[in-house]
Structure formats: structure tokens, C-alpha cells
Amino acid sequence: MVLYRLIFIFMPVVIYMAFMWAPPAAILGDASRILYFHVPVAWVSVVAFIVSGVQSILFLVTENRRREREYMAYNSAAAGMVFTILTVITGSIWAKLSWGSYWNWDPRETSIVVLMLIYIAYLSLYSSLKEHPNRGGISSVYLIIAMITMPFFIFIIPRIYSSLHPDTIINQEGKIHLEPAMRITLFSSIVTFTLLYGYIYRLMNRISRLEIKAEEKHYDI
């Protein structure tokens, strides 16, 4: 799809905006530029996990295209896992720059690690059920439960306990505390990273479809 191919143009523009166009933040200075990568990858991991949960619901409630739904749910969870790891890495670098240590067991850091473990368990479960006749059903139920727990780990737990983490974009006041140039850069980056996820996800689904076609034709893969 042409829309997803826009990332080849958008991403270099966003990288330029993040490093050269957007002004440095008042206290953090140039270190704050990691915001334009950390927030979008965190956003994409949430989107990916929601997509995998929705595909799992569709797998359970619809009769048609079940095999397709199964691998679409898996692919989105796998992509979300990669983006979660990137969120942890970028967050850790940012923590070192602003708090002086890569890891502080801050509520937000801890909650993202627990969420990551939940999805690692899903990936293990899915691969261990390879020969099971109800692999899709079991893994779909797990993914739906995982999706339900996600808002607690991302939005609720870090708000209950006091955290060093700055106010999130979706905060209690409903205001974004950023200068216009920073806001434009951040939202451009969020859109671009969402497109990147879409591109990778689509590519993964096409490869899975080919695998199934090859299986049907009895190719040894």
C-alpha cells in the first residue's frame, strides 16, 4: 500500500525535525530530544497489543478467516514486543540522562517490564502449542486477557504510585505541556512510527499468508 511507503520520506524528515528543527527543552536540554523516539515507540507498542487483542476477539467470534486471524494476532503481538523493547531501551537511556541511572525500578519502568513478561509468556505459549489442535483458541484467550491488563500497567499503576517519570502525553489535565514546534515534531513522529508499524505488520502478514499457501501445496518449509 502506497500510504505505508510514505515512511521512506517521512522518517528522514522526522529525524531531521527531532535533531535540528525542534528546540531543546528548558531543563533537560538536548537530552529531551529522545522524547521524539521514546513516546512514538511506546504508543506503537500499545497500538500493536490492542490490534493483537482485537484480532483474537475476531478469531473467537467469527467463523471465517480463522487461520488468518490467528497469525495476524501473533504478528501484531510480536511486532509490539519489539517496540516495547525499544521503549524500554530509549526510556532507560533517558533515565540515565535525567535521573543518573539506567534502571531505578520506578513504577513506570517496573510496570512496562511486567507487561513485557506477559507478552513474552504469550510468545512462548504460542510456540509451545505448535501441534495443538486448539492453538488459536487458547492463545486468543490469553491475548484478550493480556490486552485487558495492559491499561492497568500503562495508565493506572504509574499514576497510583509516585513516579519520577514526567507527566505523560495523555495526562490528568488533558493538556500537552510542549512548545508548538516540539508538539508538531512529536505528533509527526507518532504518525510516522504508526505507519512504520503498519508497514512491518502488513509485511509480516503477507509472509505468513505465503507460509500457509506453501503448507497447503505441501512444500517443506
Partner: protein
């Protein structure tokens, strides 16, 4: 090499992105080619 560390960092990020973009583009083309073969009657 430039003396501005921000420029250097941007150049590194750009190189990583172009590497990833090239990989994705080539993978996309390969998948399209295989799809063409498989969907042929």
C-alpha cells in the same frame, strides 16, 4: 567530521534508518515476487 555532537548523532540515526529502510524495501520486493509466483494459475 562535524564538531557538533547533535549533527553526528543525527547522521548515525539517519544511517541506521537508511539501512533498515533498504532492508524493508528489498524484503517487500522479494515478498511481492514470491506472491506473483504463488498466485499464478
Amino acid at each position: 567530521m562535524t564538531s557538533n555532537p547533535l549533527m553526528t548523532l543525527m547522521a548515525v540515526v539517519m544511517i541506521i534508518w537508511f539501512g533498515l529502510a533498504l532492508f524493508l524495501y528489498r524484503l517487500d520486493r522479494k515478498v511481492s515476487k514470491i506472491e506473483g509466483v504463488i498466485h499464478e494459475p
